[in-house]
């Protein structure tokens, strides 16, 4: 088989892309009956190829159940993908054994949506933030004393996320949602990772606190050159944070573009509807929201052809039969829609 174009980066030492997925799939079996026979599969992530550049923020948006969280977890191998490949710095980590994976985990971190359930209620903040050191060893430091190096690093981290030293001996329940998310972030930063998956990091927060958290994330990214995968259903937040935005619908990427291009020149009817659905805090712009009718079909039995065709206002007969591929339409803009990919004759698919 001919080499995939993405293989180039592995030859070059993976300088451009930090994380790449190639046709990544995650299916969950649906079991039925006494013997737990698998009767169907939930196509949570169904062939996603994305490349995340070093130092960028890639936003991933989509409605609930579209597979964005599963994708985030599969990239970190928190859930084992069913098919496809994950490359980290050009190295295939899809089937890396447990001990190799553990070493890698240092570099790959995640911040979860719900700060209330992602922190152990019985551990003090100091222990939570320092937990990674127990597994991966103390941080490198000029000081020889391990304990001291650890404590120094923890103090430094807690300061960076905007909390104070006397918070260290407290338990998670004593903090507000925004503060808890800061603790989760300090924990993620402890081992100096390269890549952080931010899975709806601000959805549980209030607007004014959300702004603080987003600013902090940006600041830390600039300081440490972090690469983010920012997963959210809130397009305004994603647009604020990301360099590029990808839209997921029923397990597939349907559009990917740099943020400006995405907002001003979106091509896919679903993306356009998504943008049009966002309530805008300006009563003068009381546009009649077009929106779309209908609801997301079940991922157990996704529609044939283009997955969006039952809700699409532009659907043609072809859309029901042939699945559109993600094609490059220039300016780093990719779209999976027959309206934009007719250059490829449909019969050849």
């Amino acid at each position: 088989m001919s080499r995939l174009p993405s293989d180039d980066s592995s030859v070059a030492g993976g300088s451009k892309f930090l994380i790449q997925t190639i046709d990544l799939k995650k299916l969950f079996p649906v079991k039925k009956g006494v013997f737990g026979k698998t009767v169907a599969h939930v196509h949570a992530v169904d062939g996603v190829s994305l490349s995340i550049r070093r130092g960028e923020t890639l936003g991933l948006v989509g409605e609930s159940g579209c597979g964005k969280t599963t994708f985030g977890r599969a990239v970190l191998r928190l859930t084992q993908p069913t098919g496809g490949k994950i490359l980290f710095e050009g190295k295939d980590i899809t089937n890396l054994p447990a001990d190799g994976l553990r070493k890698l985990r240092k570099k790959l971190q995640i911040v979860f949506q719900d700060p209330y359930s992602s922190l152990d209620p019985r551990m003090t903040v100091e222990k939570i933030v320092g937990e990674g050191f127990a597994i991966h060893g103390p941080p490198s430091s000029a000081s020889k004393n391990k304990k001291f190096a650890e404590s120094e690093r923890i103090h430094q981290l807690i300061e960076q996320v905007g909390l104070s030293h006397d918070h260290l001996s407290r338990l998670p329940h004593e903090f507000s949602g925004g503060q808890k998310q800061r603790i989760a972030l300090a924990r993620a930063l402890a081992l100096e990772p390269d890549f952080i998956v931010l899975d709806e990091p601000t959805s549980a927060l209030d607007v004014s606190v959300q702004a603080q958290a987003l600013n902090l994330l940006k600041k830390l990214q600039g300081k440490y050159g972090l690469t983010y995968l920012f997963i959210s259903h809130d397009l305004s937040v994603v647009a604020h944070m990301s360099d590029r935005i990808a839209v997921m619908y029923l397990g597939k990427i349907i559009e990917l573009a740099p943020t400006w291009e995405f907002l001003n020149n979106s091509k896919h009817p679903y993306t356009q509807a998504l943008i049009a659905s966002i309530p805008i805090p300006d009563p003068k712009l009381k546009k009649e929201r077009k929106g779309i009718e209908g609801e997301v079909p079940s991922p157990i039995n996704p529609p044939k052809g283009c997955r969006f065709h039952p809700r699409c206002g532009f659907a043609k007969p072809d859309c029901q039969k042939v699945e559109p591929r993600l094609v490059d339409i220039g300016n780093g803009h990719f779209v999976a829609c027959h309206l934009w990919s007719y250059s490829v004759p449909l019969e050849q698919h």
Partner: protein, 334 residues
């Protein structure tokens, strides 16, 4: 502004407190609010600011150990606090109804949609003929634009999607033509594309039936699109009330300004979002002055000591801030 509208709900000096062993939480600290006929009023604020508690207080459904400790709530001239529990029950659902945030927990999982909807209609409208009842139920489902009402009527809540369930909730709430509909974060649990559908539906129906709506939300975008007037709450108090356009054009209270600025706007490329520093105060500690004082950039000694009164800075635009004691915008420029 439409002058001389008939008020439907008048709240004066309402205080709702949770008296507990650990101390007293003042969830609502003396609020004054009027809802007029045929209007939709948005209540905006962050978690714990008392927006849901206002709704629960109107319906007299404040969860224990909470209690309304002072003030009055008049609904169409009737003092709700003086009514007996039975009288109150005949008002709930029939004259004032409510839609909750999470549709999946507000429907009973063991009864069909048809039964639950029918029960409400039969109870409040005294319809006992099964055929008439079924027809009414179907009509309600059609009204909220459910595609296949004949099927849905026989289904259980778990068989419906979130958006469908919220439509059923709206049908339930509107089935008795209430004078006031309270919608508490009706679209928070839904996806954006569904959110838009549900909000549009809600707005249309309220317009059509001529009821008033009190829409509780933390999303200023939803308010901008749906409401005629907005009320901003902070730490159990109302800080600003204004017609929607007015509020977005010239917000007066520092908190409102901060809130508007902190909202990320689509397509606006900003390196940093403006924030409101600090966090919400502890409601267990009484504050003699302004509740926003610790996070306000303009706070002075007066703000710390005395509670600001509601001042009408522009017609229909009320704000509770010491900066406006002189009235008008000129006082704000300091």
């Amino acid at each position: 502004m439409i002058p001389q509208r008939k008020p439907i709900v008048e709240i004066r000096g309402l205080k709702t407190q949770f008296i507990m062993r650990e101390g007293t939480v003042t969830a609502l600290d003396g609020i004054d609010l009027t809802i007029y006929e045929n209007e939709s009023l948005g209540i905006v604020g962050e978690t714990g600011c008392g927006k849901s508690m206002t709704a629960f207080s109107i319906l007299r459904l404040v969860p224990s150990p909470g209690k309304i400790t002072a003030g009055s709530i008049r609904f169409k001239g009737v003092e709700l606090r003086k009514l007996t529990e039975d009288e109150m029950r005949s008002i709930r659902g029939r004259l004032i109804s409510m839609i909750f945030q999470d549709p999946s927990t507000s429907l009973d999982p063991v009864f069909t949609i048809g039964f639950q909807l029918g029960e409400v209609i039969s109870l409040h409208q005294q319809i006992y003929d099964q055929n008439v009842l079924k027809k009414k139920t179907l009509d309600m489902l059609k009204l909220v634009r459910i595609a296949a009402p004949q099927t849905v009527i026989k289904q259980y809540p778990h068989e419906l999607s979130g958006g469908m369930k919220q439509r059923v909730m709206i049908a339930l709430a509107l089935s008795c033509n209430p004078s006031l509909l309270i919608a508490d974060e009706p679209t928070t649990a839904l996806d954006v594309t569904i959110q838009a559908q549900v909000l549009r539906l809600l707005k249309d129906l309220v317009n059509k039936t001529g009821s008033s709506m009190m829409l509780i939300t933390h999303n200023l975008g939803i308010v901008a699109e749906t409401c005629d007037r907005v009320c901003i709450m902070y730490a159990g108090r109302i800080v600003e009330v204004a017609p929607t356009l007015e509020l977005f054009e010239r917000p007066q209270h520092p908190y409102t300004k901060g809130l508007l600025a902190a909202f990320p706007k689509l397509g606006e490329q900003k390196e940093e979002l403006s924030v409101i520093r600090g966090t919400v105060p502890n409601l267990m500690k009484p504050f003699p002055g302004c509740s926003f004082v610790d996070r306000c950039d303009f706070a002075n000694e007066v703000c710390r000591r005395t509670r600001p009164a509601m001042i009408e800075v522009f017609p229909g635009h009320l704000v509770s801030c010491h900066m406006y004691r002189g009235g008008g915008e000129s006082a704000a420029v300091r």
